[in-house]
Amino acid sequence: MTIKNRSFYLILGFFFFISISCDGQIWLGKNTNVKIFSATPLENIEAISSTGTIAFNEKSGKIFVKVLIKSFKFQRGLMQEHFNENYMESDTYPTAEFDGVIQNLPDLSVENTHKIQLKGTLTIHGVKKEVDLPATIIITKDKIEGKANFKIKCIDYNIEIPKLVIKNIAEEIDITIITEFKPYKK
């Protein structure tokens, strides 16, 4: 009986610990800048969205990123229409998302530039892919910034580039994400 009691409290304590660890501070990055860039010898194409959102949990390291495809602004209106209509099909797939975990989340009270690794599922154009993305967290006295820069292959996400414009659009698109995190109060 005593052994059972002991293990009962042990297990209770263990679950209590888990539930506490799940309840960490959530940090929210609103109005996140997401830049997509395609470089070819013929043409550089750039588009920026400034309405992406990122949330991560300080304890569990879980992170969720979402950006609306229609929020990308191009220098040329026709390009923006083609991007939505032909390539991203934003009526059918309105968002791009990342759902994952920060592998080596640093202590957020230490002022430094920390290299981190994100592991999880990136969903673009309705295609889910397991990815490992490098990123940095920059902690200064008055703010916490997040930055990431990585490349994705159009073909991985079923984004077809017709042969006629293959010289104008790069097969690999460079993505840069910059945000500022604020503690989220419930």
Partner: protein, 312 residues
């Protein structure tokens, strides 16, 4: 032992539930922080500013220039067609080239020049036109896109001094001008199919005896995508107040049917149309080409977009 197991299982289920809830919370939090998608504008109802004869609610975007060439060959069959004219390729019914420029995303202006279909000698036509987007169709909002489209034509043709001629401009220069106006009502029904209806008015300063100066018409058009970059397009005009003159010349309603192919900055139409003229004040009142008599023609439209001003 069973009690122990129950606690263990219960705790395990609870903890996984709380973990799942946590995941949900993060994505829900992001959703609520980024705000709901409201009033999403519906884009790309049509691929380009025109179907075959009918203009669409699409406009040249701000700072962009649309250079278009429209070409209509001769009759495919019938008296003027057939193998001897290589099914109309030897003849040109009409050619028009035009420049349309987007002053704002909502407002474009354009200038064009066409050979003219030579209906009763009428030809050599300059046209000025403008299109203004009044209302944009929105996903969870207004169900229609509404635009205004209008313009005028001016013929530079030498005046024919015969009293009964439709190209006798001796009396006044005003006789060289014709006008048209349209309300374009369009709806993108789904991502593959769009329709447009356009109440239309055409006014000509100089007409034959028994003809109306002002014609009312209703136009209808549609576009159906058959693949990502290829669509079937069609349009039709119905004149509402057919005049006794038009009855006498056996006036026919303009019909167009074509294939739309899009490649980057180009849009290409390969099409059939009954009417020979390319501007509203020509093909609407004067078309006599009869589909059943083989007076249908091949044609093409080419549109190329140039960027004049870039947004920064």
């Amino acid at each position: 032992m069973s009690f122990f197991k129950l606690i263990f299982l219960g705790g395990f289920v609870l903890s996984t539930l709380s973990l799942m809830a946590q995941d949900d919370d993060l994505s829900k939090l992001v959703d609520s922080a980024s705000g709901p998608i409201v009033n999403d504008p519906v884009i790309a109802t049509f691929k380009t500013t025109r179907l075959i004869n009918l203009s669409t609610i699409e406009q040249v975007k701000r700072g962009e220039l649309d250079f278009r060439i429209a070409h209509r060959f001769g009759d495919l069959a019938g008296n003027a067609g057939g193998a001897s004219t290589f099914f109309g390729f030897d003849n040109v019914s009409d050619i028009r080239f035009s420049f349309d420029y987007g002053i704002m995303d909502r407002w474009q202006i354009g200038i064009g020049r066409s050979k003219g279909a030579e209906y009763f000698g009428q030809g050599q036509v300059f046209d000025l036109n403008t299109k203004f987007k009044l209302i944009q169709q929105r996903k969870n909002g207004f169900p229609l896109a509404i635009s205004l489209h209008g313009g005028l034509t001016f013929t530079s043709k030498e005046s024919n001094h015969a009293l009964s001629s439709i190209i006798n401009f001796d009396k006044t220069i005003a006789h060289r001008f014709n006008y048209f106006g349209q309300i374009l009502l369009a709806r993108k029904i789904n991502d593959r199919f769009s329709i447009i209806i356009a109440p239309t008015i055409v006014h000509r300063n100089l007409v034959f005896l028994g003809d109306n100066n002002t014609h009312f018409a209703i136009a209808a058009g549609a576009r159906a995508k058959i693949s990502k970059r290829v669509a079937v397009i069609a349009d039709y005009y119905q004149v509402l107040n057919v005049s006794s003159f038009q009855k006498a010349i056996d006036h026919q309603m303009p019909i167009g049917l074509g294939l739309e192919i899009e490649t980057g900055g180009h849009v290409f139409h390969a099409l059939f149309s009954t009417n020979t003229g390319l501007v509203e004040s020509q093909f609407l009142p004067y078309n006599t080409a009869k589909f059943t008599a083989g007076q249908v023609r091949l044609g093409f439209n080419i549109s190329r977009i140039f960027t004049i001003l870039k947004d920064k």
